[in-house]
């Protein structure tokens, strides 16, 4: 299996990227680079968030009030912007998780039927 690039140009994956970011941040605050690493690692290198898509997505989510950001120091003492879920973001995450579950279920049943 190759790599799947998450680019927001793609309608389906745009929603997915937001879901992945929200889910990642649900564990606690994290900087942008950390988010890419986490997604890549957890998906066993299948999903790779492109940096060019990550930051626009983060900023949009910040404007929408799903996440908030603050400057802090990274593990290796580097200045980095840390993102954190807001209450709205938590609700949004629950919503998107539900949607995703429904979508995958639907796709799965179509696939099963086709067999």
């Amino acid at each position: 299996m190759g790599e799947v690039l998450l680019k927001p140009k793609n309608d389906v994956l745009q929603g997915t990227l937001a879901l992945l970011i929200l889910k990642t941040l649900a564990r606690g605050e994290m900087h942008g680079y950390g988010i890419t690493l986490h997604i890549q690692r957890v998906s066993s290198d299948v999903l790779r968030v492109e940096e060019g898509s990550l930051y626009p997505a983060l900023h949009r989510m910040e404007q929408d009030g799903w996440i908030s950001a603050e400057w802090g120091m990274s593990e290796n003492n580097r200045r980095a912007r840390y993102y954190r879920l807001t209450a709205t973001g938590r609700k949004q995450l629950a919503e998107e998780e539900k949607n995703w579950a429904r979508l995958t279920e639907a796709v799965a049943s179509v696939l099963q039927f086709a067999q």
Partner: protein, 900 residues
Amino acid sequence: MSLLSRFKGLLRINHLERELDDELRSHIEMRTQDNLASGMSPDEARYDALRRFGNSTLMKEETRAMDIIGWIETTGQNLRYAARMLRRSPGFTLVAVLTLALGIGANVAIFTVVHAVLLQPLPFPHPEQLVRVYDDIRTSNTHDVGMSVPELWDLRDHSGVFQDISVLFPADANLTGGDHPERIEFLGTSPNYFTLLGARPQLGRVFSAADAQPGFTLGVVISDAFWHRTFGADPQVLGRKIRVDNDLYSIVGVMPPGFRHPGRTLGGDVDMWAAAGYSAAPFPTPVIRAARFLPGAMGRLKPGLTLAQAQAQLDSFVAQLARQFPDEYPAAAGWSLRLVPTQEDIVGNLRTELFVLFAAVAFVLLIACVNLANLLLARSASRRREIAIRLAVGAGRSRLVAQLLTESLLLATISGAAALLTVIWLKSSLLRFAPADLPRLNEVTLNPSVLLFAFCISILTGVFFGLAPALQTARAGQIIALREGSHGAGSSKHQLKFSRFLVASEIALSLVLLIGAGLLLRSFWHLLEVRPGFEPHHLVTAKIWLAVPNDPLEDPYRLPEKRAAFHQEILRRVSALPGVEQAALGNAASLPMDARHFQLPFAIENRALDSESTPVAEIASVAPTYFSVLKTPLISGRFFADSDDTKGQQVALIDETLARRYWPGSDAVGQRLRLGIRRNQASASQSPWLTIVGVVANIKSDGFDAASAPHIYRPLYQVPTYDGVVYLRTASDPGTLGEAVRAEVQRVDPTIPVFSVRSMDFVLATYLAERRFALNLIAVFATVALLLASIGIYGVMAYTFSRRTNEIGIRIAMGAQRTDILKIAFAEGAFLVGSGVLAGLLGSLALTRFLQSMLFDVKPSDPTTFAAIAALLAAVTLVACFIPARRATRVDPLIALRHE
């Protein structure tokens, strides 16, 4: 994203830019470090970190697009692009701007008037406290019967409702001492009138409590216009003496140009204000409660009192007075006091008229919008390729909608600006079309509210006509466009459906306007058919007025016989003028189509006072020749004779309405009635019984559209009045005749002015012109609407058939006849027109009742008008859809088949 956070973004923009740079740098550094840790060379590590960002400028831009700066940049691009697109199709742009400018301009123009007349508060402090006080006799449904002096005092001192209350006594007066006597508009007030309004003079002073007198104060305040007209704006005018109705007054103050009496006057703007206590000569003394000679009053409510509260307090006060003075306020009469906000009082019936006009122009604008929306839809078909390409290279759908919307907004803004400039430019000529009696016309200005209105309506218009087509286009343009867009023919079914819906609604809107215009037109026809009860052609009238000095002893016409002799002498002289067939005289109330008609209660001999309704009639005094000069026929009995004078038997004539109402089926001649009602039959001030000597045909004295009020006529020589109207049956020109009458009158008494010389034809024409104002405007708007709707349906049908050229070609090739094709066209057109007309009829049914007060002898749901107008609209619109259909049938099948 909310606009607020965008603006926040704008404020933080520099900061944000720096933060973004910092953040990205930090990201790249972290990645580089990790790459180094996984064993890459430093150069490789750095390159990989950068490479992953791809085009970092592009990404930064996309990130920034979330912020206001991006929004502004995008809008700027959209605007430039929109401007380019509009320039590229000048024909479309011109049509669109003209249509919209017409709609927006009409709205702005009407709004300017509505704002000045209805919305703008009166130019006085706390205008909401100002009220007009009306006395009504409820049981006979008689309004505005006037007020007595004791009532005024009660209201001032005991009602607890008013801070201040002032009499309003509109009159006209003779100004003598100039080249020739002049008639001026005069307003009798109380000394507190100006302080009540909170108005200040530009010169001198206004009245104060110190001026209070039982009779008239000797100092008067004049208007700015009068100051300019008569005194050449002389700054030394204060203290100047003027002789008004033979009394000498001195000028104590001049009001500023913007000051206008907030209420109705007799003939025009007030020239002169004089204060009085109304309890000494020239007013009737002693003051009695039953003498309601004060025409009315204006008050300022106590602060914090709402109109409803004040009215409630006043009602209980009235009830208390009625208990206290059962003689003066019999329960049968149902005397009551009514408060009307001054702002409403001034405008009166015109409120409806203005709102109807406003609604009409709003409709025109709506139709223009719908038409334009359709035009844009059709155009979008030809722009489909462009849009498809932009979508294909990655333009977002929202960006595309924003782009298309920017185009409509730009169009609307240009049109709004054009409309505003036109209105500013044409303001004075437009105002000339307004009826002269429109109050507060002097306050019509282009102020910030008007500008704001123009701006808002332009933006709204732009969104209204642009949004739907933009959404449609962006949606339709997705996939199919690139394939079929090349011939501009393929438009989705959905889009066609939508544009048909637009046309149907356009037809519906036009129908509502047309039906409104139709109803007004029918009213006007009915009005023209009304027989006024007199012959208006070749009838010239002129008014005269004997002065009423404040001191009765100085009045040369104090005795009725003197006045009667004067009238007789005037009549003798004007009858002998060359060109005059016959002449007559009457008092001011005898002049038909004039504003000065009052209904007074009367009692019939041997008939119990009806507790439900007191009989009322308009009372006029006329000379014996009056009815023959007016050519009003006698029904029974006799006309007045010269012998009906102060020494003769007290007599009266009544009109048919009154005779039918109170003596149905029997002869009224010989019966007796008397003016005024009084419970106490023994009262000394009881007016005499009048014997009815004849019945005459009805004269429409209050205008053609007013219900026929009953009339009682008295002989002028028996009750000679101070006011008079000269009637001349003549074919001569009123101008030259007026001079001749003036010369004759002033040969009898040089201090008496002759004024308002008019031919009755002119009076009627003016009267009809006022009625025609709204009709004309609405007719113009309705015609524009019809035109727009026809263009709309033509456009859609033409478009439909151009799409179906291919199909029609096949049909014809297969042997279909032209009539078959036309039948298809008819079916389609008929469906469109039919649904539009149906919706329009329903809409009209719901809306025309607001026209009620402007209609005459026509029901708001008049079936004839509805049917005729609907048929007219259907016919016109069906013709508009046949033209393209016929063209389609003429197509050569071979060409049509090749047409993809």
